[in-house]
Point group: C2
Chain length 192, copies 2
């Protein structure tokens, strides 16, 4: 998908804090040699975790989300702060799973990379990397999420329950919906 | 999902332009009476259109996306500028379909509302409203997209082709993936 004709002619930093930065960029594209100005919100990448138990259920968390003033059921996920030499997106996925749900990959379990997606490519470069971890089991250590997170519940749901929650709109975040679409397309989960 | 305990104690505008605003908000939540500070990017809502032909194919556009420096296949979509008294999300969906693809709802066709989703509720309130329009047909008026858009191709894809594109990662935007998950969960499209 890369093309050498994507060239950043200029960029002006408009805002920055610990979580995001806003830049106005002038960019030439493969289709247009004259630079176009665009305001872009830069964010860290994230991992999203489809955590499947040995019974074929998925672990979801119920989380308070301040930007939308709602508490929603969703797959565990977390931002990727920095990848060290020995680290990887998979390691982040395993850590986030343990921290947010108290589950861990069972011995002999596998991590299947499901590719990535962009949450809103019209305005942000935020990119999500998706993993299926299976089978997972409750860890003896329990949850360890920080004060910054607001996880108020954690439960296992069958594929049919998740299908119903998607159909009725109870599941309404791009992470869970997009990961579910990838799982179905790759025939890694079967429903109804 | 609403709860009276979501209270905005204070908010400070950090950045604003025509496309987005950044605010640092202090908010009490149903689970926490002490206000938490959060940086939120406010954006307009958007509509996403699953446009199905009488043969059961879906109309996708190939669009240059500056924030991610990639050109991707995706469902047509557009921001909702303002809803007037006589307007509605459905009207916006019909207009965006025509502008971005040159297709229109065929006589006797229907618009089915598929609910909404949030593209990244950890940092933005951007919300997408999803519609299935069927059947659609090529309009005699053709496309009418503006200079601000960078649509370089438009084609019909069968559900099996879309499944393959999702599986291999060619379809990699939250709008198309989330809408597809909703269509499958509501059994409005059948694959393989």
């Amino acid at each position: 998908m890369k093309n050498e004709k994507w060239e950043t002619v200029s960029s002006a930093l408009r805002f920055v804090d610990d979580h995001l930065s806003v830049e106005t960029e002038a960019v030439t594209t493969p289709a247009r040699a004259d630079a176009r100005e665009w305001t872009v919100v830069h964010r860290k990448s994230a991992v999203v975790i489809a955590a499947m138990t040995v019974e074929g259920k998925f672990v979801l968390i119920r989380q308070e989300r301040i930007p939308i003033r709602q508490t929603i059921w969703e797959m565990p996920a977390g931002q990727v702060d920095q990848l060290c030499g020995s680290g990887s997106f998979k390691d982040v996925a395993l850590r986030e799973l343990r921290e947010e749900t108290g589950y861990e990959l069972a011995p002999g379990g596998e991590a299947i990379f499901l590719g990535d997606f962009f949450c809103s490519p019209g305005f942000t470069d935020e990119r999500e990397f998706l993993f299926l971890l299976k089978p997972v089991r409750r860890s003896t250590a329990g949850q360890a999420h920080t004060q910054a997170e607001a996880i108020i519940d954690c439960r296992e749901f069958s594929p049919d329950e998740i299908t119903a929650m998607i159909a009725e709109g109870t599941i309404r975040d791009a992470n869970t919906l997009s990961t579910w679409a990838r799982l179905l397309a790759r025939k890694l989960v079967r429903v109804g």
